[in-house]
Amino acid sequence: MASAMMESLFQRTLDDLVKGLRLQMVGESRYLAKALEEVRKEMKSTDPIIKVTALQKLTYLQMACGADMSWASFCAVEVMTMTRFSHKKVGYLAASQSFHEGTDVLVLTTNLLKKDLGSKNEYETSLAIECLSRILNADLAAALTPEVFTLMASSRSYIRKKATLVLLRVFVKYPDAIRVAFKRLVEKMDDADPQVVCAAVSVLCELTLKEPRAYLPLAPEFYRLLDKSSNNWLSIKLVKIFGALTPLEPRLGRKIAGPLCDLMRKVHAKSLLFECIRTVTLGLRDHTGAVKLCVEKLRENMDLGDPNLKYLGLKALAALMDSHPWALAESKEVIIKCLNDGDISIQRRALVLIMGMVSESNVVETVQVLLRYAQSADASFCNELLSSILQTCGRARYEIVSDFGWYVTVLSDIACIPHSEHGGEVGRQLMDVAIRVESVRTDVVRACCGLLADPALLGRPALQGALCAAAWIVGEHITRAPHGPYEVLEALLQPRTRLLHFSVHAVYLQTVLKVFVSYAISYQHRYFAKKEVLEQEEVVTQRGSLHAAVELIKENITPLMNSVDMEVQERACNVLGQLQPFEDPNDIHRVQDGFEMLTALSEVFSLDLGPVSVHAQGRVPLPENLLIENNLDALGPVCGSDDVLLNTGEAKTSTSYREWEAEFNFQPPSKENLSGVDPSSAALLQQHRHRYENFYLPSDAPVVDYPPAQLTLSAATTASTSHGPTDSSVFNENSLVWTKPRQAKARRPAVVALDDEDDLPGISTPVSKKGLKDELVFEAIRDALSADRNKGHSAADGLETPQGTSSSRKSGHGHRSTKNRDATNPRVDEIQIHAGDGVGQEADSQTPNVVHREHRRSRHHRPSKLEIHVINDGLSSENESEEYLATVVAVGSKGV
């Protein structure tokens, strides 16, 4: 006893601990370790006060210093069971901070939580609910659903509110709870306490955002609430719900447009205003009046200068970008100004909008503005700007660019901007433009020469892609170079080129060769053609003469013969080899030989290069003696095993397997077919297999996992085009059919099963667990709603005529139900499911087929809203009583 007193006297309190921690500038971890050690000891104490303090300290350490407290979970449960409220709350705090779904002591808390949830003290109940919301797992949720359900009807609004909110977590962990509690949740929307209503709407809002379609029938209730709501928070949630619902139901949009506009006009709270705007941009884009009002309000708010409003305004405009481009055009100036904002998130939003507005007519000025901003922006945003310019202009084969001369200068400007890191893309587009747009080639070459000549660019690794492309383009079109080939040679051979990456340098060397060839040939034309004599002094002395070029090249390339990179070394050797005949200008014969060689080379270089079209293969005419079908017949079983689109050349790209089969008179391979395989090919395959054993799949393993038939077919087609029929037969038959006929056959049925066979009675496809859960939820909500809906009007009716006469509604139903008279059977099924699921799990197992059939129907053909209502109306009264009964039974059985 005395020792316990001593302990409690000398125990460090929470304040001491915090103070101590604050004093530790260095060595905090040592202090922490010591404190944890103390806590560990104190927790073993029998004195509740010491234990509680220790737990509280540990909770603090966990929050502030990230200490592990999973080892103390049992102690937390102990403290939770204490009777004094001040102790209990420490335990609950520790639990809600440290427990998670997998904590092993959770099983111990079930009864405790049950007791505290039912406590007379509402603060204890509140503690338990809060903790429950944090630690809930499926078991706890299943066990405590009845308690939460009861608390939702508590006489104290404080408890009702909390129980309603925690319901969301319960639903997530235990979807079956929806059957039990959903109806009551909907009732809470009519609660006397506005905070409870708010809680119910919050929960419904979260649920609606996940699966809006299921909650469409509640729309009239939401509408009613929105109409009379004076609480902004509640209104925000309701408007958000409509944002999710209106895209699904256009009539709802018509109904809600008026009230939303009124709300936007009179509301002062910006949060609600922006929620309304968001809903309009989501679901009411067709309501010009509403959209106009939105744009007006947005501009008003963006002009206020508040960065938050600016940001949200840009975001809302982005949502209107596709459907209402005029809205953006009207606010263009504000948007462009935002580019200069210091806040990167605003800048980004503005950039997205500006790029969205770009069209053929304004692309020039927009890009100029952006380039100007890019000059002054910081590196990362500058690159974002540049990349979006490149992306937008390059879209759909430069759709919006009409003046390519201008675009080429833009590309080279982009490369020259100091922060630019888009060398690769600039290079790709330069090359692309040079190849595609012939009329602009001279401009491209001029721009490229500029890039090559600038020594500063060579030092920037990010630009090497652009330089590589520039070198290639200039090499290909050297005759268009503005200042002649000698300048180009100088640019290509400047000393800083050693900074280039090897692969780029190799391209440079190849270009040097091409330029030299072109240069020498033109030189030859100028002098030899006329005079037939080499004027030595000119050759030797003048800058720009052939000899000078040879010397220039030799001087700069010789060191590269020792390059580490093989490609560079080889090309350097090649270039120098071509120069050899010109080394001695006096040796006229050798020079003449050299010119002959260069003439031959120049013919090779003068061939126009270009990209190969993806459809090029399709244009190759089929050789007459090619028998594709015969050999492919045997592929049938394998092809059939994958229900993929067959890619048999250009014309066949969209032919499905079925059509293909019909077209080729497909027959399943008979025995003759199989035995008719060419024995020589079989032998060949055997040989191959023997040699490359490890590349084959083991023969006992199922073969089915590898390339679908599509690949094989196209491979076979190419093989046959190139090698002729014999080769292809070897390839096809052996590799795919003959070796594994059995597996291929065995797999076939799984594929041929098509949609229409799905509805055969008695065959149920396996439903994945998640799908099952989702469907259960969906169904339960539908049921709950249908019960709720028994007041006699469907959602759609409520929308059309909220206070309409009942007679007209009835006639409407009569008209529809004739269409759905067959719904009687499903009706019975549904009731069965209800009762079964409500009572317990054994009932569930008795009606698996029904459940599954329900799923499948709703998955393939989810019942439209109309159908649901008609079914509901038909059984409103019985359904309600059944549902109610099921609920009561479920609660009863679980309560025991």
Binding site: Y60, M63, K89, E130, L165, A199, L272, F274, E275, P307
Partner: protein
């Protein structure tokens, strides 16, 4: 819904953290570190919203303390910004002129206030008066 709420000082020390979604401890520390890095260097003239992974962080700075709420991408930024302010007002009222030290030494009370304000990731009470009264009652419990 609210994913988590964080109170951090300028040095990145966590003064309060409450997670409404289950997370591993290591993940929590990573989040706290990232959120701090995200908000600490932002100019006061910048927006109070930052995109954060697949969510967004709504934050507000009071003296040396950053109050950050991580919410879903579809949630209403301004409403949560207002709710941060409301929370601070409640704290201010409760501790009469709240400062960082109050929060440190009374972290369990701050949790109680927070639990009266937010439950299961949803705002449960929007009235300052109601929460203050509630806290008064709670203090009276033994």
């Amino acid at each position: 819904m609210i994913r988590f709420i964080l109170l951090q000082n300028r040095q990145g020390k966590t003064r309060l953290a409450k997670y409404y979604i289950p997370l591993e401890d290591s993940e929590k520390h990573k989040l706290e570190y990232e959120v701090h890095r995200l908000v600490v260097n932002r100019d006061p003239k910048f927006t109070n919203f930052v995109e954060f992974r697949t969510h967004k962080v709504i934050y507000r700075r009071y003296a040396g303390l950053f109050f950050s709420l991580c919410v879903d991408i579809t949630d209403n930024e301004l409403a949560y910004l207002e709710s941060i302010h409301l929370f601070v007002e409640i704290l201010d009222h409760f501790f009469s002129n709240v400062c960082e030290l109050d929060l440190v030494f009374n972290f369990h009370k701050v949790y109680l206030i927070l639990d009266e304000f937010i439950l299961a990731g949803e705002l449960q009470e929007t009235s300052k008066k109601a929460i203050i009264e509630r806290m008064g009652e709670l203090e009276k419990q033994d």
